[in-house]
């Protein structure tokens, strides 16, 4: 038997290689860097992420794959869909580093492992968007998650951080074992784990294929924090260091959706009749639970956790719409882009108010922020409006595209649920605005330059996405079209 070397084109996976390799290099370099120069770590990390970002942007428009076994489809594909998502992940990484620097120092968590783990997690996320094989999806999922488990517990021996890590790890492992079982059943029913081949064979897979689909939904729904698989979210978000919360509220969620979109829209559209109502049902439950329970949360990290659950619901709407509407995938992509800036911006403000770890995170601490730090409060108000979905914000544009896609896909009722829950969400988002401007209060605000820059940049990006969503949506549309072509071409 002749040994076949799979065709390799490492250049197109260079961004992932840079991020992973950079993480390993930093790990080694740590031994040689003297203690007083350890503060370089964030900036070195940033350099790696920026290099990868440049390389990724250069890949825009490229459409191809690599790691192709003989007679099979490539395991890793690089198309605009993957590139668009990789840009989101790298930006998430960069912004997280920016908001982390000062926070880690003042909370005594400034250990270089933080940034390495961040890099590994980012590389996992990037693979989520590029994976064209279920087993690679699983590997990417774990590569994304395991560093996050450790990062959640990064503030040990604080009991809440440890608890957060424990819960996240336990439930994450539980759900990923269900996910693996789903992959095993897919393999059993179709004889392959390669997505293009799954697409060809799934219609003959029968009931085993449907059962596998259900288990795959569980795996993704857990990662993106959709109800009823969401229950870890508030506890983990509350206990984890706030920068980690910010990072995973965007990165892990977008990562989950990246793979979910590719698997469900590209490989399982024939089962759409079965899974679209299921996803729509999950979306409805998620929207209701997330938006309703957020109302009674006194802790802003917990409120934003429920808010992130709710936003998973909105993106789920787009996923459910993506089979019957040409704009479903692009709406989801655009929504995630807007969500990235808005949510990270909001978390940056939360971090500015958290002067000591675990202090300043209650809603009451936002009283009078409008007078104390008018610009910061204005930005926060803007982020809250964007999360609510009030124009002209990126959040609004995203919701607009998502609901439009839902209506196009004959899911009018789902769009109505979305609109109603958006109205409910105004109740708790605007309460933050209300507290900031209608009351007096005092409390320390720590905002260094990197943080202020982050807030400014994210606010600007949210504004741009709100005022001129067109070009960005066209980009998302390009990205989405690529997925469909890839699949159609086999």
């Amino acid at each position: 038997m002749e040994f076949q070397v799979p065709s390799l084109n490492l250049l197109i996976v260079l961004p992932v290689l840079i991020v992973t390799g950079w993480g390993m290099l930093l790990m080694l370099a740590e031994f040689f860097i003297p203690e007083e120069k350890k503060s370089w770590a964030p900036w070195l990390t940033m350099l790696g992420l920026v290099l990868a970002l440049i390389q990724t942007i250069g890949l825009w428009g490229y459409n191809g794959g690599t790691f192709t076994p003989k007679g099979g489809a490539p395991m890793v594909v690089v198309d605009n869909f993957a590139t668009f998502l990789n840009i989101i992940f790298l930006l998430t990484g960069i912004l997280t580093v920016l908001i982390s620097i000062h926070y880690l120092r003042r909370t005594g968590l400034d250990r270089p492992e933080y940034y390495m783990l961040l890099l590994f997690s980012v590389s996992g996320m990037m693979l989520m968007g590029m994976a064209n094989d279920l087993i690679l999806v699983f590997l990417a999922l774990e590569l994304l998650s395991i560093p996050l488990y450790i990062l959640s517990g990064f503030a040990w021996p604080r009991p809440d951080s440890e608890e957060s890590a424990m819960k996240y790890f336990l439930l994450g492992a539980f759900s990923s074992s269900i996910f693996v079982f789903g992959i095993a059943l897919t393999y059993g029913s179709t004889g392959t784990t390669s997505l293009p081949l799954v697409l060809e064979r799934i219609s003959d897979a029968g009931m085993l294929g449907l059962v596998a689909t259900a288990m795959l939904i569980v795996g993704f729904a857990f990662k993106v924090a959709a109800a009823p698989f969401h229950m870890w979210t508030p506890d983990v978000y509350e206990g984890a260091p706030t920068t980690v919360t910010a990072f995973m509220s965007v990165g892990a969620k977008v990562g989950g959706f990246a793979a979910m979109l590719r698997v469900f829209v590209a490989a399982l559209p024939q089962l759409g009749e079965a899974w679209v109502p299921a996803v729509a049902g999950v979306a409805t439950l998620t929207l209701i639970v997330g938006n309703v329970v957020a109302i009674v949360q006194p802790n802003i990290k917990r409120m934003l956790a429920y808010s992130s659950i709710a936003h998973a619901g909105y993106i789920m709407i787009a996923v459910a719409a993506s089979v019957n509407s040409p704009d479903g995938v692009s709406a989801a992509l655009f929504y995630m882009l807007a969500y990235l800036f808005t949510n990270l911006g909001a978390f940056a403000v939360v971090i500015a108010l958290e002067h000591k770890q675990g202090e300043g995170v209650m809603l009451d601490d936002y009283k009078g922020l409008g007078k104390r730090r008018p610009w910061l409060a204005l930005a926060m108000a803007y982020f809250m409006l964007s999360l609510t979905g009030v124009p002209p914000t990126g959040g609004f544009s995203g919701k607009f595209y998502v609901f439009r896609a839902a209506i196009e896909a004959d899911l009018l009722w789902l769009a109505i649920v979305g609109v109603i829950t958006s109205v409910i969400s105004g109740y708790y988002y605007l309460r933050v605005v209300y507290l900031m401007y209608m009351y007096d209060g005092e409390g320390e605000v720590v905002a260094n330059r990197a943080l202020v820059w982050t807030v400014g940049l994210t606010a600007l990006a949210t504004l741009v996405l709100g005022l001129l969503p067109g070009p960005w949506f066209d980009m998302a549309r390009d990205a989405a079209l690529q997925t469909v072509q890839m699949v159609a071409g086999g």
Binding site: K167, A214, I217, F229, M231, V289, V293, V296, P391, Y437
Partner: protein, 751 residues
């Protein structure tokens, strides 16, 4: 780069709706927490929503431009569909030059009025509710003008009626000297008058659908044209009727609808009373936008009217329906112009003037001068909004002056802030009475200048906006219908005269009351919108100048005769330019006679003459005191105040109508119809709604509902929260159960 923003059309409705939700749900809380900041949030939020809708309109305008003005239908979803009956009404937006023109006017003038209202409503206890209503009004008005079918138009039509009702009665607790709830009564009057028109609208829609099988504009019009060309009859099951007579019925019913909404004879009586509402409402709803929807309806249905005109069908052999439109418009213009002479209330003068100007537009539409009607609609929106807002500023200033002397007399500080039209003083000072004013030009300079511009524009003085639009109508009249022309010319003279009278009484002479002597200029948030509107009132004529330099004409729009007609060229894309002849439809480039130096000269001379007459002759030195009678009181014109048609109408015609209805109900209706339909459906529904409105909406306010919904949501939240126990194994159980449910569902699907 060709621009395509048509997809944004739904945003037109989204923005005002967000404003409604914001102000309806949380606005009050902001105000309760902090009066000043809260008002800013509430008011500016609503204004920004209105401005955003305006931006969308502008984008739609630019998109139309880059698509060579081709009408676009943006289909959102099927609204009502009964496939078995072939009934299908989509929720779709008609984006063409006509609807975009209306959108621009509605949102543009609307935005300015929103901003103005922030200053005007300052201190009102129901500040946020007011803005919620204003945004709600914009929402419905935009449905009205953007819909691509009669049903959507009707939804908007009903909706703006509701908002008008709510806003006229905004200060519903105000009573007159006799202790009658005058604002609530005025609101009810508007409601009843509009019901008559709405009933006609429903009949018209039913008839349209029955005849043409659709309610969408395009299919109805093209179907009607086809039938006209082929001379087909309209079949209603067993019998059939000629197209002309069917359309005569439809258009006459539309006309009745328009007389209700646009305050024409015989249903005009509600509009002057509607001035009980806050002044921004008078400006927005009862001058610039809602009352023009009747004109929009007629212009939109121009194809139907033209077919009737061409078919020669008449109502009982007397008059054809388009001619009837023209006569009613002209008669209203003249009658209302005469009544305006006898009014002392600054806003009532403007109200009758509005009725009169609406008559001009209706008359123009009836004569087939659709572009002229729209032109006058736009310029009128500018200068009448300006005048109303200006009068609001005057009232505001008078209130201020009154408070000043009041505080002075009592030697104490003013505590409450003066607010709009409300006057809770013990004495009978009426800040809207022109007899107590005078000499305000020194105290309120900005208001004076902009008011002057508005009044001159309304009077039709060259080269302000009103001159060009009014003249286009008159020129049309002189060509096509001499009776209408003469009526309208007299009405134009009246306009100039009563505006001269008003200017003189309000701004010139000496102050006739201490309040006028101490009046103060309004804040910038009020005067800046006034200045913008004044600019528009000056330049508005440029939209459709009958002559401009040859060069510009060639650059922009070459019109036969080298005439530059911006609006004409723009609107011809939605107003069909065709002539109906015996041979069928002949499409013509529209070349109406638009400018005649003779007509313009006569009307200008008459207008200037009337102004001079009012200014230097009749009211030269009068009145000197607030009590002095009006110099016109000894002339026949004043008979209107002794025996105002208004009173005549309310005393004889309305009771007659009621008696007729009673007789029909008793003698003609059979028991089932009467008992079941009237008592069960109409009355019980109405009583139920009134009960709901009175108990839930009015007493507890929207706030009550919010609190109810809020506590419900909180209860639900706390209930769900119970499941979030903190035990990791519980969370695992949730995942497990979720998986089981999903598996069960998928296995169920497989079978």
């Amino acid at each position: 780069m060709p621009m395509n923003a048509f997809g944004l059309a739904p945003l037109l409705l989204v923005f005002p709706l967000i404003g409604v939700l914001f102000n309806g749900l949380v606005g009050r809380r902001f105000i309760v927490a902090n009066r000043n900041t809260g008002e800013k949030w509430s008011g500016w939020f609503a204004s920004v929503m209105a401005l955003s809708a305006f931006m969308v309109s502008v984008l739609l305008f630019l998109s139309l431009r880059s698509h060579e003005y081709h009408a676009e239908v943006v289909h959102l979803f099927d609204w009502l569909a009964i496939p078995s009956a072939g009934f299908r009404v989509p929720w779709a937006f008609q984006i063409d030059t006509l609807s975009v023109t209306m959108m621009l006017v509605v949102t543009g003038v609307g935005s300015l009025i929103h901003i103005y209202a922030i200053g005007y409503m300052h201190g009102d206890p129901n500040f946020s509710r007011f803005f919620a209503y204003l945004n709600l009004f914009l929402f419905f008005m935009l449905i009205l003008v953007s819909g691509n079918n009669y049903l959507m138009l009707f939804v908007g039509w009903e909706g703006v009626g509701l908002c008008s009702f709510l806003l006229i009665g905004f200060w519903f607790d105000k009573v007159n000297e006799k202790g009658e709830p005058m604002n609530a009564n005025a609101a009810r009057k508007a409601f009843v008058a509009n019901r008559v028109g709405d009933f006609a609208m429903i009949l018209a829609m039913a008839l349209t659908f029955w005849s043409f099988g659709s309610l969408e504009f395009e299919p109805v019009f093209s179907h009607a044209l086809e039938m006209f060309e082929s001379g087909e009859m309209v079949h209603f099951g067993l019998f059939s009727a000629s197209l002309g007579s069917v359309l005569t019925a439809v258009t006459t019913l539309f006309l009745i609808g328009a007389t209700g909404k646009s305050a024409q004879i015989p249903l005009y009586v509600w509009l002057p009373d509607a001035m009980a509402g806050p002044t921004p409402v008078s400006a927005l709803i009862h001058a610039a936008t809602m009352v023009t929807s009747g004109i929009y309806l007629i212009v939109r249905s121009n194809v139907l009217f033209e077919i009737v005109r061409a078919s020669g069908a008449t109502i009982f052999g007397i008059v054809s329906s388009p001619d009837l439109v023209a006569y009613i418009g002209a008669a209203t213009a003249l009658l209302a112009g005469l009544i305006a002479f006898t009014q002392f209330d600054i806003k009532k003068v403007l109200a009758y003037s509005t009725v009169s100007q609406l008559g001009f537009m209706i008359a123009a539409a009836g004569m087939g001068a659709y572009v002229a009607a729209m032109f006058h609609l736009i310029t009128h929106a500018f200068f009448k909004a300006l005048l109303f807002l200006g009068s609001g500023s005057v009232i505001h200033g008078m209130e201020h002056g009154h408070h000043h002397i009041h505080a002075h007399n009592h030697g104490k500080e003013v505590h409450g802030t003066p607010q709009g039209d409300t006057h809770h003083e013990e004495d009978n000072f009426d800040p809207q009475d022109m007899r107590t004013m005078g000499g305000l030009r020194y105290r309120m300079k900005t208001t004076f200048i902009v008011y002057m511009i508005g009044a001159l524009a309304l009077a039709g003085i060259v080269p302000l906006a009103g001159f060009w639009s009014k003249d286009e109508i008159l020129a049309h009249g002189s060509e096509h219908n001499l009776i209408v022309y003469i009526l309208l010319t007299i009405a134009a003279v009246c306009t100039a005269f009563y505006m001269g009278r008003q200017l003189k009484m309000v701004f010139f002479g000496e102050p006739r009351h201490e309040a006028a002597a101490h009046a103060e200029e309004s804040p910038a948030v009020m005067t800046v919108p006034l200045m913008i509107l004044a600019t528009l009132a000056v330049l508005g004529g440029g939209l459709n100048l009958p002559f401009l330099s040859q060069g510009i004409a060639e650059t922009y729009h070459e019109h036969p005769g080298g005439v530059f007609l911006g609006l004409e060229g723009w609107l011809e894309h939605s107003i069909a330019a065709f002539e109906l002849t015996e041979e069928g439809v002949v499409h013509l480039p529209e070349t109406p006679k638009v400018f005649s130096p003779g007509v313009a000269g006569i009307s200008t001379i008459l207008a200037v003459g009337a102004l001079v007459l009012a200014f230097y002759v009749v009211y030269a030195n009068k009145p000197k005191t607030a009590e002095e009678p009006d110099p016109l009181q000894s002339t026949p014109i004043w008979w209107f105040s002794v025996l105002p048609l208004n009173t005549l109408y309310m005393n004889y015609i309305v009771p007659g109508f009621n008696r007729l209805a009673q007789w029909l109900a008793d003698k003609v209706d059979w028991a089932f119809w009467h008992d079941f339909f009237h008592d069960r459906i109409i009355r019980d529904t109405f009583v139920g709604f009134a009960h709901f409105a009175a108990n839930i909406l009015d007493l507890k306010g929207v706030d009550g509902m919010v609190n109810g919904a809020g506590s419900l949501a909180k209860r639900l939240a706390n209930w769900i929260r119970q499941t979030q126990t903190g035990y990791a194994r519980n969370y695992a159980l949730s995942i497990f159960l979720g998986t089981v449910v999903l598996l069960a569902y998928f296995i169920f699907m497989a079978n």
